[in-house]
Amino acid sequence: MSETMMIQLALATVLSPIISFALIVAFGLRRHAVAKVISLTAATVSLIGASAMLWSVSEPSFRVEAAWSWLFNDSTRFNIGLLLDPLSLVMLWVVAVVAWLVQWYSLSYMEEDERQGKFFAFISLFCFAMMGFTVAPNLLQSFMCWELVGLGSYLLIGFWNHLPSAATAARKAFIVTRLGDLGFFVALLLAWTGLGTLGFGAMSETAMTAKWHTTIAGADYGVWISWALFLAVIGKSAQFPLYGWLPDAMEGPTPVSALIHAATMVAAGVYLLARMGFLLVIGSEATLTAWHALAVIAMITALMSGAVAIVQSDIKRVFAYSTISQLGYMVVGIGTGAVVAGMMHLFTHAFFKALLFLTAGAFIHAAHTNSITDIARAGGAKLKLPMIGLVAGSLALMGFFPFAGFYSKDAILEHLIVEHDWVLFGMALLGVFVTAYYTARVIFLMLTVPAEHKHDAHGGHEHHHLHVGTWMKLPLAVLAFGSLVAGNVWQLSVEKWFHIEHVDHGNLALITAAVSTLVAAIGAYYSARVFYWRTSADPLSTMTGLARTLREKWYLDDAYAMIVHKIYLPFTAALNKFESAVVKGALDGIGYGSMRIARSLSQVQTGEVQHYVRMSFVVVAAVVIILMSR
């Protein structure tokens, strides 16, 4: 495929969602059928374009760049454009696939909603933002699209804005991620002032190494920019301590959750890390340490959120915490240097997490409740396709052979062994155990809680006809298949597009696979003893302190509340007091003072003509005397 054709294709892929957004806003807000057709058409164009471009990638050195001037004067020039390399094309394809499936699925899920037009418009906007971010050739365009992604998530999480909880969750997501965006902005400024360029290509050239190593305030640019970007990643990809917004984001419609969790929004942070992964090659020793520190944070996040998932009763929240945990794994992989392994986990995770969320959505759509036990009571286990999806997605999430998660998680674990990072490796194994435990718990609860027959007013049995929406079936089937094969697909075709030094570690891969599978199996078995056979007591029932801590989500929300109420609000109150006392006081003083002076001066104005006459005589006399005495 020629380069121009590639660029045109990429433009069609990226721009069709925003065109769809504009068209829906113009014509489709009240005409739902029109909105659906436009949105699906645009998603299909994106999917075809992304697939065609991915198809034409053949080698790691593949790279097409295009740039258009956006802001410029005589000396500086900011571009927007496209950067098409294996990394961005794989990501673009994942986004396009998940977006297409999610929109297809939404045809059923949102069929009763009165504002479907708006929903599809927002989804299109969201997809455009993510695709624009994916192909961004420089930090500036990344930043703009990153913010647009934040806006899209805000609009979609708060889509049911008549629910106060949804409105709050949307605000929380927006504000918390904005906190991280501050870091992105700082990184942008640092890169511009220190390196003089924002382009990923220019920044990654080894000629830049000296500039990256220039020291300011005790650390080099690599370290500063890394930490600033980490803040952004921690916010967007929901890592400790800024992950509180992601579980709350479950208030949005379930297809949105699938989109946010699988391919857009949270994946943006991981993708940004992978984009900046060249720092692991040309960065200083201190930079590598910073990235490793991020990996440690992510590993802790993975364990913490995995533990919280154990006690959640809301099926979406289980998967939400699971997403945080899996994002932790991706960041661990990239932070310790395995960029490709991290991206591989992102790739496989997109399939099985989208599957799990769409499955959860199918259950919720059928049973009209989010609680796992209530879904089971309503007879959720009889829904064949969602149950298959749940099991397939769960097996992939737990990392059992031959499902997708097996390959990607093992790639990260194997890398940790190669790096001799035993602490992280141990924690990662513990994470595998926890993951298996909470994931299996969902299935076992679904299977063991007996279905209840609802009695209607006449005392007769009313058979509950739970059904899966017409448009839901295809995405579930496709994603279930994807969860099965995504790992192989990556290993067989995608992986060779990345530069990897193939070092033979002997039986290391096999040993890793055996160990991790064993650990996952133990976790699943233990979960079965507790939740399926019920032969063991729930370990949390004896550890009440831990159980309460987990139920309170490590008191993280309380910590936020405390920071806001005890520190932030008093601080602002003090500032307010200062403002009203000093600034406002000074201004008021000036006002009152001049008024008082004016009032006393106005006493001269007696209104009596003769006073004026006297005064003018005095003045004239004074003038005459002065003039004559000169």
């Binding site: 006493q603 104005q605 209104g607 009596e608």
Partner: protein, 102 residues
């Protein structure tokens, strides 16, 4: 012999009388008379200076004619104001007219 200085003394006395009346009279018509006095004092000055310093010219006399014309017009306006004030305040005491005080 009358001289310039005696004319000037007369006009000064006349002007001071007018000024005093202007400041102290309470009656609006009194004010009008005082103003006329001051105008006439000025006229006398014009005539005197014309006669003693620039004999043969008529500038001062023309000026005086203007002053007389002006005084007539001013008296008309002033009396109109006096009528208006009287209608409004039922008095022509100037101290009552102080609605423009600050």
């Amino acid at each position: 012999m009358t001289s310039l200085s005696s004319y000037l003394a007369l006009s000064t006395i006349l002007f001071l009388c007018g000024a005093f009346g202007m400041m102290e009279r309470r009656n609006l018509v009194g004010l009008l008379i005082s103003i006329e006095l001051m105008l006439n004092a000025a006229s006398i000055n014009f005539m005197a200076f014309n006669h003693y310093l620039f004999p043969g010219t008529v500038t001062g006399q023309i000026m005086t004619l203007f002053v007389i014309g002006l005084a007539a017009a001013e008296a008309t306006l002033f009396l109109a104001i006096v009528f208006a004030v009287y209608r409004h305040y039922r008095s022509i005491n100037v101290e009552r007219v102080d609605h423009l005080r600050g």
